[in-house]
């Protein structure tokens, strides 16, 4: 029995009264504030829609979905959530002196997030690539990956292993040509606050790919700026971080793009650089308007008449416009948003064309997002 509690319960002092008032003020005050303050719908810093109050019904209560939904809602709608997230990050990284916060780190090269390579997933990605590549007879197949920027942090981080990634891909893709981008990228190739690479730093990447595929790309020297860009890692870290500038290489006006409209199932024109999307939830959607199943870039003044098919993720969105300077047609296919079985309905693959499979470390770690049936 807690004798001390029992004995002390008999008397009280102003100090104890103050303790009660502090607790009631803090917990009660916040409880009231949570009901009075309208919660935001979207977290701009985390780039996600916040949980809303779940529907209350007999079935939702008996199944427990109301309770689990409410737990998420209670945390997401908490009054003052953003400053509290900052407090947590500061506590973890400074007083507790942890070197990262759940994988998020801050260093000279900016903010990043390391994640171990899931070799099994990367091998499955390779298998899926092999399934697609095996049906593209007569085309020149290349593959590569974009390593996580944490490997360029300048210090040891227990994250991505590019050697293991290369081995995992090579285990299923030995018949095709690998293009190594790891050695030509560096900390400066990426935004300081985001996972993506900076298009204006991609000259070595474009040269390496061009050399492997037999084209010679000369990137334009002029650069346009879309505006300040606070990347996804800055939002996740929740500490004040200096924003990046999002810049891009303007293309000649004859370069055009067409997008597959998911409703009409027809290709329709759209911008290569979508300045309107830059102001949306994910500013990186500036490049080829973000999540798009199929985009075809056409450049009548390209240095060759060749055609490139780029199986890609968002990293490919910023690379493709640069590759269009050499290829008359660059068709970008994102298998996260269209199943491979449907692609032939919209795309024809002329023999002799080039095909590049280019995926980032995030895709290598989450193979399930690629819609390819493996026999």
């Amino acid at each position: 029995m807690s004798d001390e509690l029992g004995r002390r319960a008999q008397t009280w002092s102003l100090r104890q009264l103050l303790t009660c008032l502090v607790f009631i003020g803090l917990v009660g005050g916040w409880a009231v504030a949570n009901r009075l303050v309208a919660p935001p719908i979207v977290s701009q810093t985390e780039r996600r829609t916040l949980a809303t109050m779940p529907d209350l019904s007999l079935s939702s209560v008996t199944s427990g979905t109301f309770m689990s939904g409410f737990e998420e809602f209670a945390a997401d709608s908490f009054a003052g959530r953003e400053p509290l997230r900052t407090l947590k990050a500061w506590t973890v990284l400074y007083p507790l002196a942890q070197l990262d916060k759940s994988g998020l780190y801050e260093g000279d090269s900016g903010v990043g997030r390391f994640e171990r390579l899931n070799v099994a997933s990367a091998t499955k990605v390779a298998t899926k690539i092999a399934v697609v590549a095996s049906s593209l007879d007569g085309l020149n197949i290349y593959y590569s990956f974009v390593p996580d920027k944490s490997i360029y942090a300048g210090r040891y981080l227990p994250g991505f292993d590019p050697e293991a990634a290369r081995d995992a891909l090579a285990s299923k893709l030995a018949d095709y040509t690998f293009i190594d981008l790891t050695s030509v990228l560096g900390a400066d190739s990426f935004y300081r606050t985001d996972l993506h690479w900076d298009q204006t730093s991609l000259d070595p990447v474009v040269q390496t790919i061009g050399a492997a595929m037999g084209v010679t790309t000369e990137l334009p020297s002029d650069v346009a700026t879309a505006g300040d860009f606070s990347g996804v890692y800055a939002g996740q870290l929740a500490l004040p971080v200096t924003a990046d500038q999002m810049a891009y290489h303007p293309l000649p006006s004859v370069v055009t793009a067409e997008y597959l409209n998911a409703t009409t199932l027809a290709m329709q024109p759209g911008p290569v650089y979508d300045l309107e999307a830059f102001t949306g939830q994910d500013p990186y959607d500036l490049f080829l308007s973000g999540a798009q199943p199929i985009v075809r870039i056409t450049n009548p003044n390209a240095t060759t008449e060749r055609e490139l098919f780029l199986f890609r993720d968002s990293f490919g969105s910023s690379l493709a416009p640069l590759l269009s300077l050499d290829y008359a047609h660059v068709t970008c296919i994102d298998l996260r948003y269209i199943s491979w079985s449907l692609v032939p309905d919209f795309v024809t693959f002329p023999p002799g064309s080039d095909v590049l499979f280019l995926y980032s470390s995030q895709i290598l770690n989450s193979e399930a997002v690629l819609q390819v049936q493996v026999p």
């Binding site: 029995m1 807690s2 509690l5 029992g6 002390r8 319960a9 008999q10 008397t11 009280w12 002092s13 100090r15 104890q16 009264l17 103050l18 303790t19 009660c20 502090v22 607790f23 803090l26 917990v27 009660g28 916040w30 409880a31 949570n34 209560v61 008996t62 427990g64 309770m67 409410f70 737990e71 209670a74 945390a75 997401d76 908490f78 959530r81 509290l84 997230r85 407090l87 947590k88 990050a89 506590t91 973890v92 007083p95 507790l96 002196a97 942890q98 070197l99 990262d100 759940s102 171990r116 040891y156 981080l157 227990p158 929740a238």
Partner: protein
């Protein structure tokens, strides 16, 4: 619902406190009816609390409560008949039958939900059959509330509890009281019966409860969860060096201590807010100098439950050495089995039985004569090894981890990853190690004895409560890693 959740702290608790003290105020001056009314508030709140996580099993728990309560009344009636001398033999037999019913049926229900798959799996392995696994969801807290009900029935039979809970609300409140429902402390009816009828509510008691709750919440959210993150990272790591394995053992030892003792602190603190004095459950177990001492300090209400309801009825220490060793083995195999339906938990319990027997019959005296640090190192090594067994998925898994501790099959002495995480969590681990000792409490006590100390402590205490609640809230609204190890029991 977890205590360490936004839903509990900022929705459930303020609502229940407001309702409880409103009813208490409205019924002031009417002692017993007043208690009954506020007990009714606690009972309803406790069922909401329980149903929040397990809607369907709330009915099961209600049925068990009704059964044990009703049979308890019949038990008392039979006892009175026996004492009065009329049909005493028949009354005695009825008493025994009723006792068996109230012990066996709740334990059978616990066994069905918790151990059915274990027995089916074991039978399949031995007999080569393929009986289907039931995959039953374990009702939350069933191990705790079952033990409370069983202790009530046995105490009623042995006379430790003289009167059955005459009022169903009071008795149900004892079993389902949300502060101790999910993870204890395991409360005996005799400890709380008087408080169910009449208890003091004071600003001093409430304030002590607040402080205790804030400390418990911080232990759980700020220390246990971060240690848990480290454990999860290391278990998933390709680095199997000696350093990585030791780091894992230390982190898990701290996680399970702060997780469970933090939860107990929160339970005791919440109890104090509602006027209850719940038993202590932890007393700095890692400063023990023997396994015997450790189990007097770790999960004290469980240890005393097994001592009183299993070990002593088996003969306890009043029998010869061979039977004592058998009794110790039985109790600790059961203790291990209570913690989980797997052979490694039984092994974990028997591991302690071995050490306790050795201490009792062989080296106990030598341990006492040895200086403190030697006993302390012995204790920490033994308990560290026990946690490897406790957290392992199988005996083979435990064997591999234990091998890595001494370099057998490990990937070297140190690895890049283990060095990185040692540096990253050094401050956290240091706080954990110091926090697991009485040093902080002694420091506070020493400061309090100075003239200037009281003022300093007054300011520090309130700043501390605000800071701990703020930090815990910050970690909860941003965190997704909030497991509770003892939740599965």
């Amino acid at each position: 619902m977890l205590f360490s959740s936004v839903t509990f702290i900022y929705y459930f608790l303020p609502g229940v406190l407001a309702l409880y003290f409103a009813v208490l105020w409205l019924t002031r001056g009417r002692q017993q009816p007043g208690s009954r009314a506020v007990n009714a508030v606690l009972l309803v709140a406790s069922f909401v609390f329980y149903a929040w996580g397990e809607p369907k099993y709330a009915l099961l728990m209600a049925a068990e409560i009704l059964f044990v309560w009703a049979v308890g009344l019949a038990q008392v009636k039979a006892r009175k008949t026996r004492i009065n001398g009329a049909n005493s033999e028949s009354a005695s037999n009825i008493e025994k039958l009723l006792l068996i019913a109230t012990v066996v049926i709740p334990l059978a229900i616990l066994g069905y939900f918790k151990y059915a798959d274990f027995f089916i799996d074991s039978f399949n392995a031995v007999a080569g059959t393929e009986l289907p696994i039931l995959r039953l969801a374990l009702p939350i807290g069933i191990s705790f509330y079952t033990f409370q009900m069983v202790s009530y029935s046995i105490d009623l039979y042995t006379g430790k509890v003289e009167e059955a809970g005459r009022n169903l609300i009071d008795f149900a409140c004892y079993v389902v009281l949300f502060v101790a429902l999910i993870a204890g402390p395991i409360v005996r009816y005799s400890e709380i019966a008087a408080q169910l009828i009449r208890r003091d509510h004071s600003i001093g008691g409430f304030a002590d409860g607040v402080s205790r709750f804030a400390v418990g919440l911080a232990k759980k959210v700020l220390i246990a969860n971060l240690c848990g993150e480290l454990v999860a990272i290391l278990k998933d790591s390709p680095d199997e060096s000696v350093l990585a394995t030791w780091l894992y053992v230390v982190a898990f030892a701290l996680q399970i201590y702060f997780d469970f003792s933090g939860y107990s602190d929160m339970a005791i603190g919440l109890g104090a807010m509602f006027g209850f004095h719940l038993p202590e459950n932890f007393n700095y177990p890692y400063i023990a100098t023997s396994i015997t001492d450790f189990w007097r300090r770790w999960h004290m209400t469980l240890s005393s439950w097994f001592r009183d309801y299993v070990y002593i009825p088996l003969g306890g220490s009043f029998v010869g050495a061979p039977r004592q060793i058998r009794n110790i083995a039985v109790v600790w195999a059961a203790t291990g089995f209570w913690h989980g339906a797997a052979w490694q938990f039984i092994g974990w319990g028997l591991f302690f039985a071995l050490f306790l027997s050795i201490e009792k019959f062989a080296f106990g005296g030598a341990l006492q004569r040895l200086s403190g640090p030697v006993g302390h190192i012995y204790l920490l090594l033994a308990v560290g090894i026990s946690w490897v067994l406790f957290d392992a998925a199988s005996f083979g898994d435990a064997g591999r981890t234990l091998g890595h501790l001494v370099g057998a099959g490990s990937s070297g002495l140190v690895g890049d990853e283990s060095l990185y995480y040692l540096r990253s969590y050094a401050v956290m681990l240091l706080i954990g190690v110091i926090g697991a000792t009485p040093l902080p409490a002694r420091l506070v006590h020493a400061i309090g004895e100075r003239d200037w100390g009281i003022k300093l402590l007054t300011v520090a205490q309130h700043l501390g409560i605000v800071l701990l609640l703020l930090l815990a809230t910050a970690f909860l609204v941003d965190g997704s890693f909030n497991p509770f190890i003892y939740f599965r029991f």
